[in-house]
């Protein structure tokens, strides 16, 4: 709840210059290490540079390449595919489970929450190493498939041209699900039971109850989950880099790995910067959309 600032000096209404000192340290670092690099990245995107010799101004050339080069477009497409795994899938699953959960009392919920949340906190390199083992040709997944007679399916998952990307996608689902579940779980606890009673009196079954009461009440949590997970999907670097590096071929290429390679291996710094700017614009769009969606919801209710 907002209340007016309580401190005043001599004047009761005037601005307080000392605020500048309080803001300075945080802003100094923010400007130096976030805003200035932001501007520099944008500027770099309009140049061609190998990192050592002079820069050449090339206008929108890099951006043209971003939108026409099939390799880059493929990377961008892959990041959209990953959104399905990082966002859509776990959010849907979590909504279904939480929707069921409101109807019953779950014993040991705190324990479940603790276990399910755990994947979210692990360093992604650890996640990558663990899943690399699971997907290995002699790893647990194939062994499990063999043991139930499905050995036609077993393969080198991360080396398979069709299945490498979905396999990595599922790793993302594994990582984000716990966070979403805890988020929604906390959200439904706030729903007053009177709403459910009213719905039941009206004769609503489980499904109508979900769409009439649970889902609208979780609007805020869903938007937060969307922002966090879509951001993670678009920015995804660690897992891809440690497992497949974009391979096999280019089937798991993602923008962040492409940027890394462009800047540090092929030495097209300007191109990398341009992809980075496109990435930032995508994230901006996502955030704006979510903001709009939430405003709409708040006005509606």
């Amino acid at each position: 709840m907002r209340r007016p600032p309580l401190l005043g000096r001599r004047t009761l209404r005037g601005p307080q210059p000392i605020a500048f000192l309080y803001l300075l340290p945080a802003f100094a670092f923010f400007v130096a290490f976030a805003l200035v690099p932001l501007v520099q990245t944008v500027l770099l995107s309009f140049h061609e540079w190998n990192g050592i010799t002079d820069r050449t101004y090339v206008g929108l050339e890099n951006y043209k390449q971003v939108f026409t080069d099939p390799a880059i477009r493929e990377a961008l497409q892959h990041s959209i595919v990953l959104i399905i795994f990082y966002s859509v899938l776990p959010i849907t699953l979590a909504l279904m489970i939480v929707g069921l959960m409101v109807r019953v009392r779950v014993r040991g919920l705190a324990w479940f929450r603790a276990v399910l949340f755990m994947p979210t906190i692990l360093p992604l390199t650890v996640v990558a190493v663990a899943w690399r083992w699971i997907y290995a040709p002699t790893g647990p997944l194939n062994k499990a498939l063999d043991s139930v007679g499905l050995d036609v399916i077993s393969r080198a998952w991360l080396g398979d041209f069709t299945f490498a990307l979905p396999s990595l996608g599922l790793v993302g689902t594994w990582v984000t699900f716990g966070l979403i579940f805890v988020l929604f779980g906390a959200g439904v606890q706030k729903i007053p039971t009177s709403l459910y009673e009213a719905a039941r009196i009206d004769g609503a079954g489980a499904i109508r109850e979900f769409f009439a009461v649970t889902l609208p009440a979780l609007r805020r949590e869903v938007t937060v989950a969307l922002v966090l997970t879509v951001t993670a999907a678009l920015r995804n670097f660690d897992v891809v880099f440690v497992t497949t590096r974009g391979g096999p071929g280019t089937t798991t290429e993602v923008p962040s790995v492409f940027i890394y390679r462009a800047v540090f291996q092929t030495r097209s710094v300007g191109l990398g910067a341009a992809i980075g700017v496109v990435l930032m614009l995508e994230l901006l769009l996502v955030n704006l959309f979510v903001l709009w969606y939430r405003r709409r919801g708040e006005d509606g209710t």
Partner: protein, 276 residues
């Protein structure tokens, strides 16, 4: 709530399955790492005999002692400095009056959307020109810059949720803004500060991209996740049990912290979501 036996069992079953899936990968590498060295392991097998030798091998060969130390130094520094700076800035936003307050807050908040992946490019070349590549400063300084957005947002929300009576009383007693902040407000919001510290520590510890780009060669400054990626990337035929042990070494501090502070993490994240 109506107690429905079947639905209760179904939900319970689903949660059990989900929990198994959540734990399974970690459990796999635990079992893998406990095998005696050189054992050809396939699939999900309980080791016939338990041996910790893979951990010793991983520790020595992967240089995880310096790596863990580095991670700890970087994370503690980032957290301490970020929390202090965020508290100061949040105090200004919440308690003091100054022009363009909303605009400046908005700009700071925009920092939450910025991806490292794009910003590392100028950061790398900037640090290179300053000769700071391969030093811990290259990791500490940008992460403070990135953390203050979230930190200020968090602490401001914490301050604003406090009622004014204690602050009023301090003001009547003649306290200046500095005293009010550190003697009155800051102690009251300790839970929020602890949650923030835990989250920032987690983000700093788990960072990989910054370390990969900015500390590419100096092994004594490299952080644990980076050391793990190098170790796991070497020699395609390397023993997966040793790599599994290395991964666990890197995961252990975070897991320990999670077990101790678990409530704080889950509460922290959901509280943050409410504010967002």
């Amino acid at each position: 709530m109506i107690e429905n036996k079947t639905e209760g069992r179904v939900i319970h079953g689903i949660l059990v399955v989900a929990s198994v899936i959540a734990i399974y990968p970690l459990l796999s590498i635990v079992l893998l790492s406990l095998n005696p060295p050189g054992e050809r392991v396939t699939g999900f097998t309980i080791p016939k005999s338990i041996s910790f030798e893979n951990f010793a091998t991983a520790w020595d060969r992967g240089g995880f002692g310096p790596a863990l130390t580095s991670s700890a130094i970087v994370a503690f520094t980032v957290v301490t400095v970020s929390v202090v700076f965020s508290t100061l800035a949040a105090y200004a936003f919440s308690e003091l009056r100054f022009p363009f307050k909303n605009a400046t807050f908005f700009v700071l908040l925009a920092g939450l959307m910025l991806p490292y992946e794009a910003l590392i490019i100028p950061l790398f070349f900037g640090f290179r020109d300053l000769g700071l590549i391969d030093s811990r400063w290259a990791l500490i300084l940008p992460q403070i810059g990135f953390s203050v957005s979230f930190g200020t947002f968090w602490m401001r929300a914490a301050f604003e949720s406090q009622t004014g009576s204690l602050v009023e009383a301090a003001k009547i007693d003649g306290a200046n803004s500095w005293a009010v902040l550190w003697r009155v407000l800051f102690p009251i919001v300790r839970p929020a500060t602890l949650s923030l510290s835990a989250l920032l520590f987690l983000f700093a510890w788990n960072d990989f991209l910054l370390a990969l780009v900015l500390v590419p060669q100096n092994e004594s400054a490299q952080t644990a996740p980076l050391a793990l990626s190098f170790f796991a990337g070497q020699r395609r035929g390397a023993d997966p049990s040793v790599i599994a042990a290395a991964a666990l070494i890197v995961a252990l501090p975070v897991l320990v912290m999670y077990v101790i502070l678990q409530r704080r993490f889950t509460q922290g994240m959901t509280a943050g979501a409410e504010k967002g």
